[in-house]
């Protein structure tokens, strides 16, 4: 028995020649490379940070307003749940990351939209509101954009570049006698 090197996993590869490609399973039954898995975990942890900020912000809000509670509370739960899945169920990692990134992007886009329209409204009413106002608004925008828009976009970009998602071998049954994977 030979010990496998650290950082690698046992691969139960199914060889598919060009001639039999149509009969091969849609997903290559190989485990993700360690670096890919590390990135998944990194994104999962990354999603937990905005989830924590959103959750803490929701708790800190002194007034309960149901649209805010539903949107922010829902987003927090989804992000936390998705991150848990990524860490606990590698088979669902990519799908969970996709859901998390979309939800975070949705919240981010909503925040930026509301902030920009509010800013436009106030600028229309007050005209230029001076150095202080511009600095404040710029600060808020710069704080929201990287975490709630740029980050989920990067995450979606990364996911899109790796489709279709690999499925670990452990979750894939052995080929059927006729050579086809079960659906």
């Amino acid at each position: 028995m030979t010990s496998k090197p650290r950082g690698t996993t046992q691969v139960s590869a199914v060889a598919c020649s060009p001639g039999t490609a149509a009969r091969c399973p849609l997903t290559v039954p190989s485990r993700p490379e360690a670096s890919e898995r590390r990135k998944e975990i990194a994104f999962a942890v990354g999603n937990l940070i905005p989830a924590t900020v959103l959750g803490a912000g929701l708790v800190a809000l002194p007034v309960r307003y149901w649209p805010t509670d539903i949107v922010v509370g829902g987003a927090t739960l989804v992000l936390a749940g998705a991150s848990s899945l990524v860490i606990g169920r590698p088979a669902l990692a990519r799908r969970a990351l996709l859901v998390g990134a979309r939800v975070l992007l949705g919240v981010g886009v909503l925040l930026v939209t509301v902030a920009l329209l509010s800013l436009a409204f106030l600028a229309g009413i007050h005209g230029d509101f001076g150095r202080g106002g511009v600095t404040l608004m710029l600060l808020v925008t710069l704080l929201v954009l990287p975490y709630a828009v740029v980050y989920p976009l990067v995450e979606l970009w990364w996911l899109a570049s790796r489709a279709p998602a690999p499925v670990p071998a452990a979750t894939v049954a052995s080929p059927s006698p006729d050579g086809e994977s079960p659906a």
């Binding site: 800013l119 409204f121 229309g124 005209g127 202080g132 106002g133 899109a160």
Partner: protein, 554 residues
């Protein structure tokens, strides 16, 4: 391909959002420099509007009519108008610039206006919308405005909201005219003496002040605060000494007598200012400051023993590191080593001023050690460069001590604070260019006058020391520029006379410094702080005209 799709979607969304934002801003914008479209002329008696006419363009209308006794005429030019998006309380409330915008309402073929004067009289610019514990300061209070317009249009508020239409009016006062003031000696003198005059009128026969008076309805709060009694008496005495006006001198005497007879009590072996079992350092410090001014000016020289006693009490509260124990339990005769905002700076300043009369080295040493403690931040704490407390007393202490116990570190501290004050002040706010130099309370709300005043009085003390210390001219000029702009803002909104047409008792309020340009409530420390800044800068300008060698500053 999927990446390209995401990128395209993002770009499209960004474009749509940008277009919507620019469109919304353009749709709502008004031109405040435009020609006069029409003029709303109103007559007022005792703060109540009695009649109104609207004339096209800038025709004078009944403006030329002789004003009757206690009758005021106000004319407001409509420069432009804009839409009001919604009557939802938050959107409606945020749709108007406080002090600049009015409302036009149409209902059933009738029209009604709520002009700036109306909204001031209704105090509609000051009421925040309350969402649970959140108090959101918007442009106007929607409830007050809609109720007033509904009354004027002889309908119910619900009906008006349902069937009425609203427009925003960009207004400018033609009469009384909007003035732009600058910090000249004449204007500073009028403003400083006016602030003292207000305080003199506010001192009742029993020596207590009308503590806080609403300039609109002359309503007085039941509250009272002895540190502020002392602070106001300090400034009143300083103005009285400057003018030697018998009315001011008499008022200062009444307030000082009341302080000594009604609030100076035993604190163990010393005497302090206290009205209960727990004495606070601030009352005694400001009481000492007031009495020093009273005795130094010869108003009531026989109060000198109280000066010595209060100075001794302050010294007895000082810790070895220069900090003070801010409270004293009179039942157990025990100092309480707790600290509050302001008190250490007040005590340092008061002891420094007292030493001029007592010639007691211990007062000077105590003040000097307190000032050193106030500006002694550890080298690794960078935060003090950015998070400033209300340091006006620190900089007053710097000024009072400079001749005999100069503290360069304190000067650097005050210079840096003033740089932060200037940088974070309001500049170039399009709807309110008259706010330039004021200390901001937020980008969309009117600035508080007292916040600006405290910073300006500290700035003047810093200016005096900076010149004596040979600080580079560029820095001194920047400091003085900030002072000139800040004081111009204070004078612009001082009730001298202010919008007297909407005030119930404008004669009493004359010279008062209101909370904000749209909240005409005057608390006694408002004229104290603003008056101190105005009078001290006036003395600086006067000293410049005097021959070399003359002592500058207060």
């Amino acid at each position: 391909m999927r990446q390209l799709g995401v990128a395209r979607l993002c770009a499209l969304f960004a474009l749509v959002l940008l277009g919507a934002s620019l469109g919304l801003e353009h749709y709502l914008r008004v031109d405040r420099q435009g020609a006069v479209k029409r003029t709303i002329i109103s007559s007022w008696v005792a703060g109540q509007r009695r009649s109104r006419v609207v004339v096209d363009g800038d025709a004078p209308g009944p403006l030329g009519d002789e004003p009757g006794r206690a009758r005021f005429v106000g004319a407001e030019d409509v420069l432009d108008e804009g839409p009001v998006l919604s009557t939802h309380p938050i959107l409606f409330g945020a749709s108007f610039v406080p002090g600049r915008d009015g409302v036009e309402a149409h209902y059933d073929g009738r029209v009604a206006y709520a002009t700036v004067d109306d909204l001031l009289a209704l105090q509609a610019y000051n009421h925040p919308v309350e969402l649970g514990p959140i108090r959101l300061q918007l442009g106007v209070d929607p409830d007050v405005v809609l109720d007033a317009l509904a009354r004027e249009l002889r309908t119910t508020r619900e009906e008006l909201v349902e069937s009425g239409t609203f427009r925003r009016l960009a207004l400018r006062h033609r009469y009384p005219p909007e003035v732009t003031l600058s910090a000249t000696e004449d204007m500073l003198r009028a403003a400083a003496v006016g602030a003292g005059g207000y305080l003199a009128r506010a001192v009742r026969a029993d020596g207590m002040y009308r503590y806080e008076v609403n300039g609109i309805d002359d309503h007085e709060t039941d509250d009272y605060n002895w540190p502020r009694h002392c602070g106001a008496t300090w400034y009143l005495a300083e103005t009285a000494n400057y003018t030697r006006d018998p009315v001011l001198l008499a008022a200062a005497t009444r307030a000082a007598r009341r302080l000594v007879d009604g609030a100076v009590a035993a604190c163990g072996e010393h005497r302090c200012v206290a009205v209960g079992d727990r004495a606070d350092l601030g009352s005694s410090a400001l009481g000492l400051l007031a009495l020093v001014e009273i005795v130094e000016g010869g108003i009531v020289p026989e109060l000198m023993p109280v000066v010595r006693e209060l100075a001794a009490f302050l010294r007895s509260q000082q810790r070895p590191d220069g900090e003070f124990k801010h409270f004293y339990d009179r039942r157990t005769n025990t100092p309480i080593d707790e600290q509050s905002l302001y008190y250490t700076g007040e005590a340092a300043f008061a002891l420094a001023r007292a030493e001029r009369l007592t010639h007691d080295r211990r007062d000077l040493d105590a003040a000097s050690r307190a000032l050193a403690h106030l500006v002694d931040y550890p080298f690794w704490y960078f935060g003090w460069h950015y998070f400033w407390g209300a340091e006006h007393w620190t900089c007053h202490a710097l000024g009072a001590l400079w001749e005999k116990a100069p503290n360069r570190k304190a000067l650097d501290f005050c210079m840096q604070w003033q740089e932060a004050v200037r940088t974070t002040a309001i500049w170039d706010r399009e709807a309110n260019p008259e706010y330039d130099g004021a200390t901001s309370a937020g980008p969309f709300v009117p600035p508080a006058l007292v916040g600006t005043a405290t910073r300006m009085e500290a700035a003047v003390s810093t200016l005096i020391v900076a010149r004596l210390a040979g600080v580079p001219a560029k820095e001194v000029d920047a400091l003085e520029f900030g002072i000139e702009k800040g004081l111009a803002f204070l004078m612009r909104f001082q009730l001298l006379p202010g919008p007297e047409q909407v005030m119930k008792a404008p004669r009493f309020m004359r010279g008062g410094i209101p909370n904000t340009p749209t909240d005409l409530t005057v608390r006694i420390d408002n004229p104290q702080h603003a008056g101190t800044a105005l009078l001290h800068y006036l003395k600086v300008l006067e000293a410049r005209r005097k021959p070399a060698g003359a002592r500058s500053g207060p």
